[in-house]
């Protein structure tokens, strides 16, 4: 009966005794930090693909930088002493969190530098191809740094006290989420920037998003399957993962990552002036839906993470 009601922790807590392991992590700043930085890395890498199509290097860099800056603000909001935050990179030799922060700063810094170098000829009033070349090189370097950042970010959560996190599918989730968000954000930017795009690239972009979304959903289902065995109490992860929250998360992924791109392909057959606006709107909505979906995923990640310690927390 109760299984059919799909009770989440809040409701379950009212009916059942809370597990001794239950410890809530209300980590809104961390949700903002991880989702923003992930999407920033993905957007930059996605932008590397679309450069030839839309010549939108600067827009891509600005958007990446904006997402990165939001993420860094989230990171600062997470710590109790923001003024001491620069100390966080000191223990990079053995702390994954330290490496994560170091790579975050390097990533955002390189993106900023790439944008500055790209704009340099305009700022000093001279024409030069060299700056575009250097900026391109920095973008690639920033992309590689971003990939390392995603690895360090997920490694931070592989701690033995949190069985919900301590699995390689956490890393898979972080990478898949980054590529999916980055793909949809950079594609939306492309459609805003380039009003009319050929059918072949559009189909390719739509297929890419569908593949990434199916991969993301597959990883979510794998996490649900793995956590089935960890569900000792009613307020434990599995009740979250099979409940309404997760259903909404999957619906958002399907609508934003499968239905929306298919619809945008179908819109090609509409009159040109009309289809461009609709395509643009569809991809912006798809990006928003996937952002919200990833945010819900991360919220569940932090909320349903019981600490397994000795002695149990009480």
């Amino acid at each position: 009966m109760l299984d059919r009601l799909h009770l989440g922790p809040a409701e379950a807590g009212a009916v059942f005794v809370r597990s001794p392991h239950y410890h809530r992590e209300s980590e809104w700043p961390l949700i903002i930090y991880t989702v923003s930085l992930q999407s920033a890395v993905g957007t930059l890498i996605g932008g590397l693909f679309w450069t030839r199509l839309g010549r939108m290097m600067l827009e891509n860099l600005v958007l990446t930088l904006a997402l990165g800056a939001i993420g860094m603000l989230g990171a600062i909001g997470h710590v109790s002493s923001p003024l001491r935050a620069p100390r966080a990179i000191l223990n990079w030799r053995c702390s994954w969190l330290s490496r994560e922060i170091l790579l975050s700063v390097a990533f955002v810094g390189m993106v900023f530098l790439a944008g500055l170098i790209y704009l340099l000829p305009d700022l000093v009033g001279s024409a030069s191809d060299l700056s575009a070349l250097v900026a391109d090189g920095l973008r690639v370097l920033a992309g590689l740094t971003g990939l390392a950042l995603l690895g360090a970010m997920s490694m931070s959560y592989l701690v033995p006290t949190r069985p919900v996190w301590n699995h390689h599918d956490t890393s898979a989730s972080f990478y898949a989420g980054a590529f999916q968000l980055g793909w949809v954000v950079s594609a939306a930017l492309l459609f805003v920037r380039v009003q009319r795009i050929e059918a072949a690239p559009l189909v390719l972009i739509a297929c890419g998003l569908i593949v990434l979304t199916l991969l993301r959903i597959y990883i979510i289902l794998r996490v649900v399957e793995r956590l089935r065995g960890l569900n000792v109490y009613r307020d434990q992860p599995h009740s979250w993962l099979t409940g309404r929250t997760r259903q909404i998360r999957i619906i958002l992924a399907v609508v934003g990552g499968v239905v929306a791109p298919l619809f945008s392909v179908a819109v090609i057959f509409l009159p040109e002036t009309f289809s461009a606006t609709v395509t643009e709107g569809i991809w912006i909505i798809a990006a928003l839906l996937l952002f919200v979906g990833e945010g819900i995923d991360r919220w569940v990640f932090f909320e349903a993470s019981p600490a397994v310690i000795f002695p149990p927390r009480f």
């Binding site: 966080a88 990179i89 330290s98």
Partner: protein, 185 residues
């Protein structure tokens, strides 16, 4: 030469009076309650836990007082991004530097024993074996006040001497916790 300090706990002597917890709070000026978290007991550097075994009529209850294990290879120290946690070379006590802690709470995720605690200022605090008292040649507050003499402490060599001839176990773990438990007679 490192003389690792460790705790020895004898559960047969513990009467669950919580005086160790209270002495720890008094000595380290820990708030009894935390306004920001109504209903909580505030930071507890030392905690008495209850373990149950068997079934009626052969059921038994054990009380074990636990604090930071001052591990040989502490997870909290390795995870701390700002280097606020360190292990003293001379006695192996794991200490934190309040001025270096950024309050990221990562140590609380990493520690397998729930030792790192957080006060209202959001910074980590933990058992330091009452360093101030040790430097004056006194016992840690929890050891000094334990009514049944259940909590003892000393160097690993001294503890080995104490447990000689008695069944004892050392808490096993990847982090090499420095906590010895005497078995029931």
């Amino acid at each position: 030469m490192l003389k690792q300090l460790a705790f020895l706990f004898d559960p047969t002597r513990c009467i669950n009076c919580y005086s160790c917890e209270i002495a720890c709070k008094q000595e380290n000026a820990l708030p009894p309650l935390v306004d920001a978290q109504p209903g909580t007991t505030g930071p507890r550097w030392r905690r008495v836990i209850t373990l149950e075994e068997g079934v009626y009529p052969d059921a038994r209850v054990w009380y074990i007082s636990m604090s930071c294990m001052h591990c040989g290879d502490p997870d909290c120290m390795k995870s701390c991004p700002s280097g606020a946690i360190s292990k003293r070379a001379e006695d192996g006590i794991v200490v934190r530097d309040a001025k270096k802690c950024i309050g990221c709470r990562f140590c609380s995720w990493a520690c397998r024993f729930g030792a790192p605690q957080f006060g209202t200022d959001g910074h980590m605090e933990k058992c330091n074996l009452c360093l101030g008292l040790l430097e004056k040649g006194e016992l840690p507050a929890c050891v000094a006040c334990c009514t049944g003499g259940a909590i003892q402490f000393g160097t690993v060599d001294e503890i080995s001497q104490k447990v000689r001839g008695r069944a004892a176990m050392r808490l096993a773990g990847a982090t090499d916790p420095q906590f010895y438990l005497l078995a029931a007679r």
